[in-house]
């Protein structure tokens, strides 16, 4: 994996996922080894994403590395009209690894092709956010003890949600059964169902939680955004069907855990937070260990 950019979740093989996850476990047990001494990581955030940036920067600092970069393109030469090409070419002279977030889709792939410095994609528009997927995998592995033969329920915006698409691609390598719960307007796109069919994996599609909630090992919640609906009345009618409440977890498996990529708005009621099955805040903490693992393995330090 040394020097191998991570742009898309499909850039890494199943074996590479597992290697990252076992390294993340190592960092969870020993979080501060000084591996990045004399290394500089650039965090280039062409659009703000405080949560993701802080998680990456914390990961670098815990490993003893240095950080340069910007948190918003208004504080960089992008506002002077500099092209992405030029920014990447210049920054490459100053660092050992680039972490970048960009509003345009494909920006990270392009960047990875014009520099010899490895690039980690921290989100390119609605396209990919692979470190999120790896931390989701890590959270699933930690809570279930395995990634194989699990039942994953995905809820909410399954049409535009990049996290559910990437998670589906990654989990499909582990004999997963999927339940898709969404309004008609936000159903899982055909291309992903076609992909599951080709692999011979089972899935169901429903408009509400129904009974399958009790068979789930993981409930993966996402935000249903108002602006995704062409008809505002339809939004008002459907929004409450996708809110998870504590009483709905009564018949679920003891080992079941609720995940959410965050930020949440109201799709998980606050009364769920105290339930031991709520895992989303720990999931965010896991992001640090996974990002430490990704950075260390790309820089060939682990």
């Amino acid at each position: 994996m040394k020097n191998k950019s991570l742009v898309s979740i499909t850039d890494y093989s199943k074996e590479e996922y597992l290697r990252i996850l076992s390294l993340a476990d190592e960092f969870e047990n020993h979080p501060n080894p000084v591996l990045l001494k004399d290394k500089v990581v650039a965090t280039l955030f062409f659009e703000p994403s405080t949560r993701t940036r802080l998680s990456f920067e914390s990961a670098v600092l815990k490993l003893g590395g240095q950080i340069i970069g910007f948190s918003d393109s208004s504080s960089s030469s992008v506002t002077k009209g500099e092209t992405l090409y030029d920014t990447i070419k210049i920054v490459s002279n100053y660092c050992d690894l680039i972490v970048m977030r960009h509003p345009l889709e494909g920006a990270a792939r392009f960047a990875s092709e014009i520099t010899s410095v490895p690039v980690v994609n921290a989100g390119d528009g609605a396209n990919q956010h692979p470190t999120q997927t790896l931390l989701d995998l890590y959270s699933i592995l930690k809570t279930q003890g395995t990634l194989n033969n699990l039942t994953v329920m995905m809820v909410g915006d399954l049409k535009y949600g990049r996290t559910v698409h990437s998670l589906l691609m990654a989990m499909s390598q582990f004999q997963t059964t999927f339940h898709f719960i969404s309004p008609d307007e936000l159903k899982m796109p055909e291309e992903y169902k076609y992909y599951l069919n080709r692999l011979g994996l089972k899935y169901s599609e429903q408009k509400d939680f129904g009974g399958s909630v009790n068979s789930a090992d993981i409930i993966y919640m996402t935000r249903v955004q108002k602006e995704r609906f062409s008809d505002p009345i339809e939004y008002e009618r459907t929004k409450n069907a996708y809110i998870l409440k504590n009483r709905m977890l009564e018949g679920t498996k003891d080992t079941m855990r609720v995940l959410h990529p965050l930020p949440r708005v109201n799709e998980i009621d606050q009364d769920v937070d105290a339930n031991p099955k709520a895992y989303y805040f720990t999931q965010a903490l896991n992001g640090i260990y996974v990002r430490q693992a990704i950075i260390a393995s790309i820089l060939g330090l682990k």
């Binding site: 898309s8 092209t83 992405l84 090409y85 960009h102 509003p103 345009l104 889709e105 494909g106 920006a107 792939r109 392009f110 390119d124 528009g125 609605a126 396209n127 990919q128 291309e191």
Partner: protein, 154 residues
């Protein structure tokens, strides 16, 4: 007075070269662009809006002393999948060929996703062909699909 024969004058024959036939009339100029015909110095004759049973109106291009390798000519399959090639030697058709959609399309089509980096920065586009019957292109950068109906030539 002109004879009927003269009035019906068709595009003239060539001695050696390539005839590209069965081009839908409305994509003739796209084919010219894709093959860079505006930059070659050999004799070229076009005919367009010719009657065709199959296409309604078709176009034809005759190129003297010009021959294409498959990789080059297959690029036009994106806009003219029914195109047929006649290779001419000494005024005789010595070979007929059809075009085939290639596995990868570089620098010809435009990604239909307005938020794709290729539509915002100077980048040569690149697509994998995920379906050939009804052409579907997957952008190497934004990973979105551009379908036949939305294919635009750069």
């Amino acid at each position: 007075m002109l004879h009927m024969k003269d009035k019906k004058m068709e595009v003239s024959a060539i001695e050696n070269g390539t005839v590209i036939d069965h081009i839908p009339a409305n994509v003739l100029f796209k084919v010219i662009t894709i093959l860079n015909l505006d930059k070659i110095d050999k004799q070229i004759t076009f005919g367009t809006n010719l009657t065709s049973k199959k296409l309604g109106k078709k176009a034809i291009i005759k190129l003297s002393d010009t021959f294409f390798i498959d990789k080059e000519i297959n690029k036009i399959a994106l806009v003219a999948p029914q195109a047929k090639l006649n290779i001419i030697r000494n005024f005789t058709v010595v070979e007929k060929r059809v075009v085939e959609v290639p596995e990868e399309i570089i620098g010809i089509a435009k990604c239909m996703n307005p938020k794709c980096i290729t539509n915002n920065e100077k980048i040569t586009t690149r697509f994998g062909v995920v379906s050939k019957t009804e052409v579907k292109l997957k952008c190497h950068y934004c990973e979105k699909i551009t379908d036949q109906e939305h294919i635009e030539i750069v």
